[in-house]
């Protein structure tokens, strides 16, 4: 190999590495995006955490309101059992939504969610929620779905979120693309309280 050829080989090698790296990065990007959103609360993504709330609660209170939507393609009724709770920062709260299948067929739904104002999202931590988990309801079945969350005391310390007095948690239920087959629907959720995931 003369110098010229070596140079060419090096160029090819570098470019191949770049190509492989790009491919790897693109395969890894969904995970990265999720991590990024969870870490920063970008796009109103809630933080899901296993860490219990910090032991001390502060005196500052915040009003958390609950909102529910159902896409028109899904014949369910879905609403929060309580409109709002007022709680201290750092205090853990348990609330319930309820969903009823109004049709005569088993149907699977899936919920998306976000919090507004968006800037408060990084401080809204949920310990238990039904988001992005498929739920199958039998005809007429009603389930109660719990959400356990707390609002981080950091909310009151961050100068950009200090003014936040109300946080709204909003869910929208969609008809899932994976609908139960007749056999699958024979195995409905046994409990009336559906899953805690996401």
């Amino acid at each position: 190999m003369n110098g010229h050829e070596r140079k060419r080989f090096a160029t090819a090698a570098v470019l191949s590495c770049v190509a492989v790296a790009m491919l790897g990065l693109s395969l890894w990007s969904p995970t990265l995006y999720r991590l990024f959103c969870q870490a920063t609360g970008f796009e109103g993504t809630l933080r899901t955490t296993n860490v219990p709330p910090p032991s001390g609660t502060t005196a500052t209170e915040v009003l958390v309101r609950f909102d529910a939507n159902v896409n028109s393609a899904l014949p369910w009724r879905f609403h929060p059992l309580q409109r709002e709770v007022r709680l201290r920062l750092g205090e853990e709260a348990l609330i319930h939504y309820t969903a009823v299948n109004l049709s005569d067929k088993p149907i699977t739904g899936m919920a998306t969610f976000n919090v507004v104002p968006e800037k408060a999202a990084p401080y809204f931590s949920k310990l238990e929620c039904f988001c992005f988990t498929e739920q199958t309801l039998l005809p007429g079945q009603e389930v109660s779905m719990p959400v356990v969350f707390y609002v981080d005391p950091g909310l009151a310390e961050d100068p950009t979120t200090r003014d936040v007095g109300t946080i709204t948690l909003s869910y929208t239920f969609y008809r899932s693309e994976n609908q139960p087959t007749p056999t699958a629907s024979a195995a409905p959720p046994s409990s009336s309280t559906a899953g805690a995931g996401g």
């Binding site: 109103g44 309101r65 909102d67 529910a68 939507n69 159902v70 896409n71 028109s72 393609a73 014949p75 369910w76 009724r77 879905f78 609403h79 409109r83 109004l102 998306t112 976000n114 507004v116 104002p117 003014d163 936040v164 007095g165 109300t166 709204t168 909003s170 929208t172 969609y174 008809r175 693309e177």
Partner: protein, 292 residues
Amino acid sequence: MPMRDMIRRLLFSMPMVCAAVVALGIAGAAAQEGNVGEARPWQMGFQDAFSPVMQEIHQFHALLLVIITTIVVLVLALLGFIIVRFNAKRNPVPSKTSHNTLLEVVWTIVPVIVLVVIAIPSLKLLYHSGRTPQADLTLKVTGHQWYWTYNYPDQGDFSFDSIPIPEGDLKPGQPRLLAVDNPVVVPVGATVQVLVNSDDVIHSWAVPSLGLKKDATPGRTNETWFRADVPGVFYGMCSELCGVNHYFMPIEVHALPKAEFDAWVEKAKEQFATNSHSPVRLAANGSQDAAR
């Protein structure tokens, strides 16, 4: 498109447009008793402001208008001077100057200062309109192809659809493409938290005279707020392309004194009782079902 046709068309339509404009002017003057959030014929500026945010937008735009007009006039004056003074006849021998460090520094620094002057009130306005005030009332807005659904979660959770009125059914005083059958009603002076959502494609809920605009995105609730300072009727139009009838998806907001609002709520609760929990629509309108 043959040019002659177009010109002829435009010329023929001139008298009609003038007549329409005059008629509208008269109608507008007649309707002046109440506050109407709507543009006027030949309007050159913003619609009148009826909310604190829109008032701030007015003030900020007044500042911006002075700045941008000054810049345009300055550049125009320089261009004019160049045309008069530095044309080939008047100035046959061109200079060879191609540098002036001081000048270059000045025209970099001065725009930066102007931008700082703009940015400070701009961010103030942004944070004011973007803050979360203590709401007296929550209004849920859901966009559909091609109408809006309103829901009052705190007043008994009743909902109703706000369907645009076709041209043939308009009553006198109802503006074309802006009037709806069931306008959304709010109390005067109340801070209203608006939660905007969509059931199908992206829409945008906008009322210019209240300084309101927020995209209605499916699967995501957006928040904005307003306060109508005076009783009146405020119009808006869908502001994100949403399909065939995008142009005909108006918003009509009525602001009433508190007592009248309460009376309206009682009436509406009965009228729209069957709609309760209306986010559920049993008769799905199909487009998504059909596609699957």
